[in-house]
């Protein structure tokens, strides 16, 4: 199957080269399909393109910081991301280039990538499986439609993507957080081990484990062949990593796709519409604009995957209007543009840890601790449905602690030169229920500079999430006290959807077209050669970081599309 079908420019066309699109590209190219990958982002070459990688603070013109004036002008939302700084700025979108509207006075902190590779370059790399409990949750409590798949449908695909991506982690045997194919975990430090022992004794239903992260600690031959190497514990990932120490499209899936000779990767390609052909009842291709030249092009393909990131995907689908589908291609139900989810964070506790002055660490560990969900698993509550996990870590305070403290002169220098006191932090990340009102739509009055109707977002946390957030603060506090710390500071700060950068939903999977957009194969119910495998396809959010699930869904859907193409159904 090396020749493209005569009538099409490509066998497979993928919109987006991030976490999901990269996987589809790899899978389809390796199966012999001529594949186009279109990405709105500017090119970013793995290695040589990482301009600020490895630079010391004093080598940066602004010592790592972006001017407040520039932030106010261009990066109002991007700058809210924890990873935004002078090193990484070039990987984030200028919000001023791509406006959107926050409707009904509801703030949404939409963080977007400006580059090929998408947010796979910028992610936090925590990699967790969803569990059987997560796939059953909607059906059990009636919030959101039933997932059309169960854990067993995805289990082998999790194995598959973990083996290729490279996930470091420990096997724990927890039903709510299934074990996977792991490389050696990062170490916990002595303070963390001590806290783990004490907290798990005080709360037998709660575990503190090392975060499972997409970092190579024992690279396989397959990973080495792709030019990847072990993580160097620099923890400067989002500036780019020439080692390919962490998984990204640029380090892993796109090189794998490219070495087949079947991939055509097109940067600066803003897809505005998937075109529907009423005669064949299929998508015929996409209309795109080259944002550097303004040239408009139609590209045809047998099969189209939209993996442009949750909200961009839905924006394109809603904008794909035809006589048959005036509300967007394949859209005959109530799901497209609705049931937007993120996670909720912003509450937890911090502690100062006495003792352990004689131990320190070398290296900047690129992952943290993880507390798998215990609420409504091992410990029931009536206060809210579902639950949350936590991230945290113990580390020693650095020179930055001196900024707000008194002290000058030689004494200050001597004090700062020694490792500071140990601190421990825990923060919750909670599941957000799928609600119809949390939605996006196209503006009828405003377009961006390329003529695309801008997105209007109306999304807010509900009572369930806010009660959960309260609980995160309380349980984090009691766990740090159980660890023996006397100086514990609980906190809960205002936060808005979007900021966890786990947008999901708005084109969800389900059993039927009236309340979902995609079937159990991430295939549009009404347009058989149209697939969506990014976060838009998610039917519920669980509380785990979702990227690993996007990867597994993408690989699984690609394999299904291949079967269908070979069978002549597509």
């Amino acid at each position: 199957m090396t020749n493209t079908s005569d009538n099409f420019d490509f066998d497979v066309l993928i919109v987006g080269s991030g976490m999901s699109g990269g996987w589809v590209a790899k899978e389809m190219c390796e199966r012999g399909y001529k594949t186009a990958v279109l990405d709105r982002g500017a090119p970013l070459e793995h290695g040589a393109g990482y301009e600020n990688e490895g630079k010391a603070p004093w080598e940066m013109p602004n010592r790592g910081r972006v001017s407040k004036e520039e932030i106010e002008r261009d990066y109002e939302k991007s700058s809210l991301c924890y990873a935004f700084n002078e090193y990484t700025k070039r990987h984030f979108i200028k919000d001023s280039d791509y406006p959107f509207k926050e409707k009904d006075g509801k703030r949404f902190d939409w963080i977007r990538s400006a580059r090929v590779g998408g947010k796979s370059v910028l992610w936090h790399r925590h990699s967790y499986r969803f569990s059987e409990m997560d796939f059953q949750a909607n059906k059990q409590d009636g919030h959101g439609c039933d997932w059309p798949i169960r854990y067993d449908d995805l289990k082998d695909w999790y194995d598959y993507v973990e083996r290729f991506a490279g996930i470091s982690g420990s096997k724990e045997g927890l039903p709510q957080l299934p074990d996977g194919v792991f490389q050696k975990p990062f170490d916990m430090n002595p303070v963390e081990l001590d806290a783990k022992a004490k907290v798990e004794k005080a709360y037998p239903g709660r575990k503190i484990i090392i975060g499972r992260a997409a970092h190579l600690t024992e690279p396989t031959d397959e990973q080495l062949e792709l030019g990847r190497g072990p993580c160097q514990a620099r923890n400067e990932c989002q500036a780019g990593c020439s080692w390919g120490g962490y998984f990204s499209s640029l380090s892993a899936t796109l090189p794998a796709a490219d070495r087949t000779g079947n991939m055509t990767l097109v940067p600066n390609a803003m897809v505005q519409e998937v075109v529907y052909d009423a005669k064949t009842k299929r998508a015929s291709g996409v209309r795109m604009i080259d944002i550097t030249t303004g040239e408009r092009v139609f590209i045809s393909a047998r099969v189209v995957f939209v993996c442009a990131s949750t909200l961009a995907t839905t924006q394109i689908l809603l904008n794909s209007k035809s006589a048959e589908f005036p509300r967007g291609i394949g859209n005959t139900g109530s799901a497209l543009g609705h049931y937007l989810m993120d996670h909720i964070k912003g509450a937890g506790a911090n502690a100062v840890v006495d003792g352990y002055e004689d131990v320190y660490y070398a290296g900047r560990r690129p992952t943290s601790l993880y507390v798998p969900r215990f609420r409504n698993v091992t410990e029931k509550t009536d206060a809210f449905l579902r639950g949350y996990g936590m991230q945290g870590e113990a580390q020693r305070l650095s020179w930055r602690a001196a900024i707000g403290a008194e002290g000058i002169g030689k004494d200050l220098k001597a004090r700062v030169q020694k490792p500071g006191p140990w601190t421990f932090t825990l923060q919750g990340f909670g599941e957000m229920l799928p609600e119809h009102e949390n939605s996006v739509s196209l503006s009828t009055t405003e377009t961006d500079q390329w003529g695309m109707p801008i997105l209007e977002i109306s999304c807010e946390y509900g009572a369930n999430e806010l009660r959960m957030k309260e609980d995160m603060r309380n349980t984090a506090t009691e766990m740090l006290r159980a660890a023996g710390y006397t100086k514990v500071q609980p906190y809960s700060e205002e936060s808005f959807p979007g900021i966890v950068i786990h947008e999901m939903g708005t084109a969800r999977m389900g059993h039927k077209a009236d309340d979902s957009y995609l079937n159990r194969h991430n295939q549009c119910h009404n347009v058989s050669n149209l697939f969506v495998t990014d976060g838009a396809s998610m039917t519920s959010s669980a509380c785990q970081n979702p990227s690993l699930t996007f990867m597994a869904l993408s690989a699984r859907a690609a394999a299904f599309a291949d079967e269908q193409m070979k069978a002549g159904a597509l």
Binding site: R90, A362, E406
Partner: protein, 178 residues
């Protein structure tokens, strides 16, 4: 010091180099930082800043603030970090200080240090006239500990740790700067 970029390039080559094809190797943006705006600090202001910075971070067995280029860094930060209003508030505060203490630049180091130590001791409750000092101290500390002197001589800096390990603290152990 070793050149980190060379280390990276060297290791990347050992690992088989960057493998992405020509199709990915299109142009990327320069990503250059905009030209610095003109500094807004006068010579007398810079002199006072230098004196204060060296009192906060003096020379010991490693250079102090001015030896690490902190005053020049503050000039840059004024132009490139702060909003105009914040920079103006800082300059106004500094001017107010110099009006209230016109002899400060000519005093001996003991008198200068006593004055700054007194202000610093009320860092959390600074009177209006000394409020600029909080901004100054923040800029001095950031400027110093992100400089090569502060980050890699006074503190410890390792661009490529290679792994995360637990180490004992000895009398020689310095805190990491990053």
């Amino acid at each position: 010091m070793l050149d980190r970029r060379q280390i990276l390039v060297g290791v990347a080559a050992l690992m088989g180099g960057a493998l992405l094809p020509a199709s990915v190797k299109a142009l990327h943006g320069s990503g250059s930082v905009g030209a610095f705006r003109k500094a807004t600090l006068s010579e007398p202001q810079m002199k006072a800043i230098t004196i204060m910075a060296d009192i906060i971070i003096p020379e010991t067995d490693t250079p102090g603030a001015s030896g690490a280029g902190v005053p020049a860094f503050i000039r840059t930060a004024m132009a490139n970090w702060l909003l105009k209003e914040e920079a103006q508030a800082f300059v106004d505060g500094l001017d107010g200080f110099l009006e209230a203490h016109p002899d400060f630049p000519r005093q001996d180091i003991t008198a200068q240090t006593n004055l700054i130590a007194g202000i610093d001791s009320s860092l959390h409750d600074l009177p209006e006239k000394y409020r600029f000092y909080r901004q100054l101290k923040e800029l001095v500390l950031i400027g110093y500990y992100t400089s090569e002197v502060g980050a890699a001589e006074e503190l410890a800096y390792d661009p490529v740790p290679g792994g995360y390990t637990i180490i004992p603290v000895t009398s020689e152990t310095k805190a990491w700067s990053t």
